[in-house]
């Protein structure tokens, strides 16, 4: 069948080399932040920002980072706890607008769900900033970072890693959560990358429903692997959600040695699994970059300089290159704070 083809087919050496080149590039930890233009006008102080927290890990991590970044500029951040349900989030934004906040930050803002709030904010002169949203900027939305397009390298890096690690003999499975639409692009670039680096490799996709997360997702992956015994690489679209319990399930099913896991994102749990040898490579999310970029955008806006597009960078992390302490989120660019301070004239 198709999947057998890869092991017999001759390795496409050109592709393999290209993959190795990509991996080599991706494995280098970035040292420079992605915005470079200093703000040459005074940044007003005393701004009040409301961060609408969403009740999941990322939001919980972001709150303090935002507060720290804003503090540099003499601003304050009110973190409003919500359970992430749109009704509560809407209420929180309404309250922020009423309370005289100068800006609202909301992760993954959905323009349809918050159309009224975005319009109200615009009318009230309150800036609306988001990350990881499918919405395009403008029309009430000042800035969006970690957009679908900006995420494109992730899939490419993962594909390159799979091809180079396998020496061009990979049967890869991309485990997707189609509910997380922002990551659709990653799936596309992964597939494209596999085709580019290794035309003879196979790539298939398994979609996991939201209701399986934290429950029978590992069992679904194990079942897939048992019914597709040739698969030897798994790429996780959301390592945090999909990796929970996966190493244990693979071990119990006797599959741990047969497959290699790579993935996008990666919370501390995934790094612990990498440390234990259960995960080969990760492309983590740089929440520091997101947060500093969002604050930077507000600073530019209020200083009266143009707000450009800016996204995070990506780094293919492996066990030997992983930072020492992965139990807490870390910035990709070690001196992220200092570099932004420099741009803001605060150093």
């Amino acid at each position: 069948s198709e999947s057998n083809a890869s092991s017999d087919a001759p390795v496409d050496n050109a592709g393999l080399e290209a993959a190795e080149a990509t991996v080599a590039k991706a494995a280098v930890r970035p040292t420079k932040i992605t915005v470079t233009t200093p703000i040459d006008k005074p940044i007003p102080t005393g701004k009040k920002i409301t961060f609408v927290s969403c009740g999941v890990e990322a939001c919980a991590i972001q709150g303090p980072i935002l507060a720290e970044a804003a503090g540099i500029l003499g601003w304050t951040v009110d973190q409003v706890a919500t359970d992430g349900s749109p009704e509560k989030v809407q209420g929180a934004i309404d309250a922020a607008i009423r309370n005289g906040s100068d800006a609202v930050i909301l992760n993954a803002a959905d323009r349809d769900a918050y159309a009224k709030q975005i319009a109200d904010a615009a009318a009230a002169g309150v800036q609306f900033v988001t990350c990881c949203s499918l919405a395009t900027t403008g029309d009430g939305l000042l800035f969006n970072t970690a957009t679908s397009e900006q995420n494109a390298p992730i899939g490419d890096y993962l594909a390159a890693e799979v091809v180079s690690d396998s020496g061009g003999k990979a049967d890869a499975l991309y485990v997707n959560i189609s509910a997380f639409q922002i990551l659709a692009k990653v799936g596309e670039t992964f597939e494209a990358g596999m085709k580019e680096y290794c035309p003879s490799c196979t790539v298939d996709s398994l979609d996991i429903p939201l209701t399986s997360l934290g429950k029978d997702a590992p069992d679904r992956i194990v079942s897939y692997l048992r019914s597709h015994p040739d698969v030897n690489y798994i790429a996780l679209s959301v390592s945090d959600a999909l990796g929970a319990g996966l190493p244990a399930a693979l071990k119990a099913a006797g599959l741990a040695d047969k497959v290699t896991i790579v993935g996008q994102g990666g919370g501390s749990q995934n790094f612990a699994d990498m440390e234990a040898g259960d995960i080969e490579a990760l492309v983590p999310t740089d929440l520091y970059a997101y947060d500093y970029l969002m604050i930077d955008a507000l600073a530019r806006h209020w200083a009266g300089v143009p707000v450009g597009e800016a996204g995070p960078q990506f780094w293919l992390v492996k066990k030997d290159t992983a930072p020492d302490d992965t139990s807490k989120p870390f910035p990709l660019v070690l001196d992220t704070e200092a570099q932004f301070k420099a741009l803001w004239g605060k150093s």
Binding site: A60, Q79, V80, P86, E87, D94, D110, A113, P209, L210
Partner: protein, 367 residues
């Protein structure tokens, strides 16, 4: 002793000869405000005072009241949708998924270009069909409602995943007429608040002022006796579940409109809060009867806390802590008072003190 039964409120027919009107009116107020009737209201007032002192700039004003109403209308609609089946002691655990299903279905239709009114009607129809399925499984197949609606909920989940592939349905088309259903504001109050009010009044009327309402309670308290009294028990349980399906479906459509699209997980967050509100509500006003007024009080009580904590920038965990403490406090205040009042009841009959009248809503779990 001034213990009155709950029907005092409902039956303003004061016997002309036997009681003076003034006494009756006064005691009716006393009844209405008794701790054991509206313990939660006192807890609510306490919370309002606390937040007014804690966040004096932003909390005690009309805007806050509007925010509380606006951000809890859906919870209210969700809770109301299970009030009728619970009155007949039937669980509908599938209501939250039903909300999701109807929401994504209508969003789907609107995106497909189905005229808005038709799309909404189709959505309500789906809710009706879900209700019919629940009713068939529970009433016709005689499967315990708790497990039966868990099962149908699973079927609905499968449908939702099929319809949406777990991806939210969004489209510019949804920002048009569809968005107005849930997002239009009138004097700072969104339409869902009015829907909530209308449904609450409707359910209050049904349960308090119609024969069907009394029969529903009769079925809930003692289905065998109700059957002997000529009540069509199965039919009422059937209708209760169908109504629940329609109400939950409609709430889901409103929710989708608020969200501006069909989210495949929209309803789930309302499952436990919905039940919490309706169970807390049952301890209010009507001594153990699930009722619309009590549900309203419960929703506002819990909603006030959440909003207040948000305005006070309280930490993330404070919301859950608040809900837990307030639920227990409200139930305790109500329960303690109730027991004292019952114990002090005039000796009407020479029998041991058990078999008290309707106390906490008990569930028949028999599978």
């Amino acid at each position: 002793m001034s213990v009155k039964t709950e029907d005092e409120v409902v039956t303003p027919a004061v016997p002309r000869e036997s009681r003076r009107t003034t006494t009756s009116a006064a005691s009716r107020w006393a009844t209405l405000l008794a701790f054991d009737k509206v313990g939660a209201v006192y807890v609510w007032l306490a919370i309002i005072v606390v937040f007014s002192i804690w966040v004096p700039e932003t909390f005690p004003n009309l805007m806050t009241a509007k925010q509380i109403l606006n951000s809890n209308a859906i919870t209210g609609l969700a809770a109301l949708s299970v009030t009728i089946p619970l009155a007949a002691r039937v669980f509908d655990l599938s209501f939250a998924l039903n909300m999701t299903l109807c929401g994504v279905a209508v969003a789907h239709f609107v995106v497909d270009g189905v005229p808005l009114v038709l799309a909404v009607l189709l959505g309500v129809l789906i809710g009706l069909v879900v209700g019919l399925i629940n009713a068939t499984v529970v009433v016709a197949m005689k499967i315990d409602s708790f497990i039966a609606t868990l099962a149908t909920g699973s079927l609905i989940q499968a449908l939702i995943t099929m319809v949406t592939n777990d991806t939210p349905i969004s489209d510019a088309k949804l920002a048009g007429g569809f968005a107005t259903i849930g997002q239009t504001t009138v004097g700072g109050i969104t339409l869902p608040v009015f829907y909530f009010a209308v449904v609450a009044v409707g359910i209050w009327y049904l349960l308090e002022h119609t024969a069907t309402g009394r029969r529903l309670y009769a079925v809930g308290f003692n289905p065998d006796a109700a059957r002997l009294a000529g009540v069509k028990v199965a039919r009422l349980q059937f209708l209760a579940l169908v109504t629940s399906g329609v109400l939950a479906g409609s709430a889901g459509i409103v929710l989708a409109s608020i969200l501006g699209g069909g989210s495949p997980t929209a309803g789930t967050p309302y499952l436990l809060p919905g039940f919490a509100a309706v169970f807390l509500g049952a301890t209010q006003l009507k001594n153990g009867r699930f009722n619309a007024g009590g549900t309203l009080i419960a929703v506002l009580l819990l909603g006030t806390g959440t909003t207040g904590l948000g305005l006070a920038n309280a930490p993330q965990w404070s919301g859950a802590l608040f809900v837990g403490i307030v639920l227990i406090a409200a139930l305790m205040v109500t329960g303690l008072q109730r027991r004292t009042t019952l114990a002090a009841r005039p000796a009407a009959l020479d029998e041991p003190s058990h078999g008290d009248d309707a106390t906490a809503p008990s569930k028949d779990v028999s599978a």
